[in-house]
């Protein structure tokens, strides 16, 4: 009996270090990556700040997660999106974003894809489950 691959989306709307949401969300993504599911991650609102490259959390006494985000592709989480409106509101461009891995074939760095709100809405409608962080 073949079962349809589950489509699971994670949404991240909180800024990175003020609460534990982004950290916990990342943990769950890595756990879910172990299952045979079709995973996507969408960063919107203040969540886009979680992807800003160059975060130095040493003085906060916390590990930070830039290194972990840097290997998402190795966990087969390639479908990482950012909401264009949220980026523009915050004066961010694609070049500000951290790298989530490298392309298997070209070895080029992979960055999250910037998409329109309407595209995200359409993707949301296709999911089996959406987990918000």
């Amino acid at each position: 009996m073949s079962e349809e691959k589950k489509k699971i989306m994670f949404t991240v709307r909180k800024p990175p270090h003020g609460t534990i949401y982004v950290y916990e969300g990342l943990e769950v993504k890595l756990i879910m990556a172990a299952y045979d599911a079709d995973i996507s991650v969408v960063f919107m609102d203040d969540g886009v700040y979680a992807l800003k490259a160059g975060q130095d959390t040493k003085a906060l006494g916390i590990k930070g997660f830039e290194a972990t985000y840097g290997v998402l592709v190795d966990y087969e989480i390639q479908n990482v999106y950012v909401d264009r409106t949220s980026m523009e509101e915050r004066g961010l461009t694609e070049e500000d974003l951290l790298v989530i891995g490298e392309d298997e074939d070209t070895e080029e760095p992979v960055r999250p894809k910037m998409v329109e709100s309407s595209e995200i809405a359409a993707m949301m409608a296709e999911q089996h489950n959406i987990l918000s962080f």
Binding site: T11, R13, M44, D45, T85, S117, I120, A121, A122, M124, A125, Q127, H128, N129, I130, S132, F133
Partner: protein, 98 residues
């Protein structure tokens, strides 16, 4: 698609953002402090009014309205109870705009 909002629109942008990602035919449920978004004649009423115009079905949880003495809601907002909440969750995929 069911969207739930549990924060006051005066507190943060959850309702505003939610509506940016809502499509016609989607359902919005306001609960907890989210029900302040259903109050008429406020500086934020236009959010829910706009949603209704966009053919988004809007519900507010009666228990939360009553607890906050919100006796009136924007015309077109439907009031539901916990059983109705369960029905909505059963019938839709859900995203919580925490």
């Amino acid at each position: 698609m069911l969207h739930t909002v549990n924060k006051s629109p005066f507190q943060n942008s959850a309702l505003d953002s939610c509506l940016r990602f809502c499509q016609p035919g989607d359902v919005l449920l306001l609960l907890e402090d989210g029900v302040y978004g259903a109050a008429p004649g406020t500086a934020k009423s236009s959010l829910v009014e706009g949603a209704l115009t966009k053919k988004i079905k809007v519900y507010a949880l009666g228990a939360d309205l009553n607890a906050r003495a919100l006796k009136e809601t924007i015309k077109g907002v439907e009031i539901t109870d916990y059983a109705g909440f369960v029905d909505l969750v059963e019938a839709n995929k859900i995203h919580s705009w925490l």
